[in-house]
């Protein structure tokens, strides 16, 4: 019997060993084996708190295993496996290494039992994930990656500051419920909501995810925001501000998705929208709403990975990522399997009955109804409409069936589009299967939720209500079908506040500040040169000073009395003498002073020192 180890270490060890495997087949087997080992490891992990290590007087806890952390652990490992299958054809080892590190650190966050362990894995997560963006290797990805990492470093700093204040205030490093109120908790919450992409701190997500590699973005959708939902469930359940932030965020993402032309960016805005339900569920703070958040995170990871895999397959095959570039290509004829699998994800996110979004999203909405929160209820409902409108109708229509507007032509395709590689389809198939499985048998999911579930999604009321909502949304979509096509535009979001001023800052630094730097530098260089030349012979300092000022005063006086020209020779004479004095080198034989002078200076200094000492003593 092999001992169980922290699941985070399995992936991190995998990340270290992976580049050592030279044989490609071997590497592919290894890639699939690691998530499987981790899954078995999870199954054997008993409930409780273990893997406690003492470090500088603090307990670092790597294993805090209860129902909540297990639920996130399961779905993380499952999506890791699915994502690895999807990425199997990628030859660049670095991408897989980054993905393994990223997955491992996300699992580390989930099973962390103290706030320092949480922080360490939190930062590894941010740093490893940026490579999934950078491996795209174009300028847009590089720039977006830098913005991504800077936002996350800012969030990490806020979190660290909050943690330090929290620990020094309370003395406890426990990673659990934190009373909201006061600077420490606010900073910690700020760090968290930046990672959860809560507006106005959400722009990094829609900025960076669509620029990532096709396979990397599948991992990105799963871990960062959802591990944040997990830490929010742990630390800030029932915080009122989260209810409103969540509801606003759900609608905000939807509103921006209307305008979006880039297919993965549209889906990224729907991540923001969907995480809104989870954040609102955390804020509502009842057992039902927190169950709903957990369940929705679980389902969301599966269907959002599926949707990104579908969009990624289209990008992989066609090389096009915008609706305006994809229209008129009749892709539904060329890649019908990818279309059907994508639609399963689309129905899931739209909460169509029998798909998994239906069993989790309705839970959060029902929780808001039970607490009598009409505005929250309506906002979340409204976001559901928008979700179906975009991911269920507009996006598939635009990608697979889109017609060319009148008067426009499309450029001919160089290569005929086909279905994506088999491993991509298998990965999509697995995710689609899980979406339907959890949708049809919600018990599987409900049994692993942190609290016992007293919610029945499949009542006649729920099903009919949801069908009405979705069908009439489709009807309205039909009315506006021509207005909803992609436009070759981009939407400015809150990233404007660091992108545009960023350019300004760059100009400010490289022009006026650079100028100031050069001036200061030349000034100090001169100073140093002067001091250096004076220190060659310090004994002459008084003489040089006297001569210098004498020269200055005399020349001023001459200038004032208009006799300047007549006395020019005299001034020159003085100047050359000054130079001569400056040039004189120290010579022991010339400057012989009695030893008494040295003693006198020492005594004077000693006296001054004693004086200061006694004064301070009093």
């Amino acid at each position: 019997m092999i001992d169980i180890v922290p699941p985070a270490f399995i992936f991190i060890l995998g990340a270290i060993l992976l580049p050592l495997l030279r044989e490609r087949r071997l590497r592919q087997i290894f890639q699939l084996l690691i998530p499987l080992i981790a899954l078995i490891d999870l199954l054997y992990m008993p409930k409780g708190t273990y893997w406690v290590y003492n470090f500088l007087g603090y307990d670092l806890i790597l294993g805090r295993v209860d129902k909540l952390s297990m639920c996130f652990g399961y779905v993380f490992v499952i999506v890791a496996f699915v994502g690895m299958v999807y990425a199997l054809h990628v030859r660049e080892v670095g991408q897989h290494t980054a993905a393994f590190l990223y997955i491992g650190s996300a699992l580390g966050v989930v099973f962390a039992g103290d706030i320092f362990t949480l922080y360490v894995f939190w930062e590894i997560m941010a740093i490893s994930s940026v490579f999934l963006i950078w491996y795209q290797r174009d300028k847009a990805a590089l720039d977006a990656g830098f913005r991504y990492i800077m936002v996350h470093i800012f969030g990490g700093c806020a979190l660290l500051a909050g943690i330090i204040i929290h620990v020094s205030n309370t003395g406890s490093t426990n990673f659990g419920f934190i009373e909201y109120g006061g600077l420490a908790s606010q900073l910690i919450l700020l760090g968290f909501i930046i990672n959860a992409a809560v507006p106005p701190f959400h722009a990094w997500l829609s900025d960076a995810y669509p620029e990532a590699t096709v396979t990397g973005s599948v991992f990105l959708t799963a871990f960062t925001t959802k591990s944040t939902v997990y830490v929010l469930l742990r630390t800030f359940p029932g915080v009122e501000i989260l209810v409103w932030l969540g509801a606003i965020m759900a609608v905000y993402g939807v509103a921006y998705a209307v305008l979006e032309n880039d297919i993965r960016r549209l889906l990224a805005y729907h991540i923001i929208s969907q995480v809104g339900y989870m954040v609102a569920g955390v804020g509502l703070g009842t057992e039902m709403s927190m169950n709903g958040s957990t369940a929705h995170a679980f389902c969301h990871i599966l269907y959002k990975a599926l949707l990104f895999m579908g969009a990624g397959a289209v990008i992989y095959v066609t090389g096009r990522r915008k609706l305006t570039e994809l229209q008129g290509r009749n892709l539904y004829k060329k890649m019908p399997i990818a279309l059907s699998l994508y639609m399963i994800g689309a129905f899931s996110i739209s909460a169509v009955p029998l798909f998994n979004g239906f069993i989790s999203k309705t839970m959060v909405i029902a929780a808001s109804a039970e607490l009598d929160r009409p505005i929250i209820y309506l906002l979340l409902h409204l976001a559901s409409i928008g979700t179906f409108l975009h991911t269920g109708l507009k996006l598939p229509y635009g990608i697979w069936f889109g017609r060319v507007p009148k008067g426009e032509t499309i450029e001919e395709e160089e290569t005929e589009a086909t279905e994506p590689p088999l491993n991509m389809l298998i990965a999509m198939g697995m995710a689609a299967f899980l979406c339907i499985l959890t949708g049809v048998y919600p018990k599987i999911l409900y049994n692993i939720l942190p609290y016992s579930v007293h919610f029945h999604p499949y009542t006649l009321n729920h099903v009919v209500g949801m069908m009405q909502l979705l069908l009439l949304t489709a009807a309205a979509f039909w009315l506006y079908i021509d207005k909803l096509g992609g436009e070759p535009k981009i939407s400015v979001d809150t990233d404007w506040f660091y992108r545009k001023p960023g350019v300004l800052l760059l100009w400010f630094v490289s022009n006026p500040m650079q100028d100031l730097r050069l001036r200061l530098q030349s000034f100090f260089t001169k100073m140093v040169a002067n001091v250096a030349s004076l220190s060659k012979n310090p004994i002459l300092l008084p003489e040089i000073t006297v001569r210098y000022f004498y020269l200055k005063i005399i020349s001023r006086l001459y200038q004032a009395s208009d006799t300047y020209k007549d006395k020019a020779d005299e001034l020159k004479e003085l100047e050359s003498r000054l130079d001569a004095v400056k040039e004189m080198r120290y010579d022991e034989n010339i400057y012989r002073r009695p030893i008494g002078l040295g003693v006198l200076i020492a005594i004077i200094l000693l006296f001054l020192y004693g004086l200061i000492y006694f004064i301070r003593l009093r």
């Binding site: 921006y256 305008l259 409409i385 009542t459 009919v464 209500g465 207005k483 400015v492």
Partner: protein, 70 residues
Amino acid sequence: MGRKLKYIFFISIAVSILVGFFIPSEHVHFWWEKIPAFDAIFGFLGCIVIVLGSKALGHHGIQKDEDYYD
């Protein structure tokens, strides 16, 4: 095909709304849940609000040319 799909679509809308009239509403939390076919009305109007609202915002400032940040 297209025509058939249209009929199925309209029939399912009609059926879902009709069924909604006959099932007893349970767990009523808000007054609007008593309105028959509220979800249908909300879905239709909500969708229009989202489309028109976002497009209006988009065309009045949010949408820029693709090289805006370059």
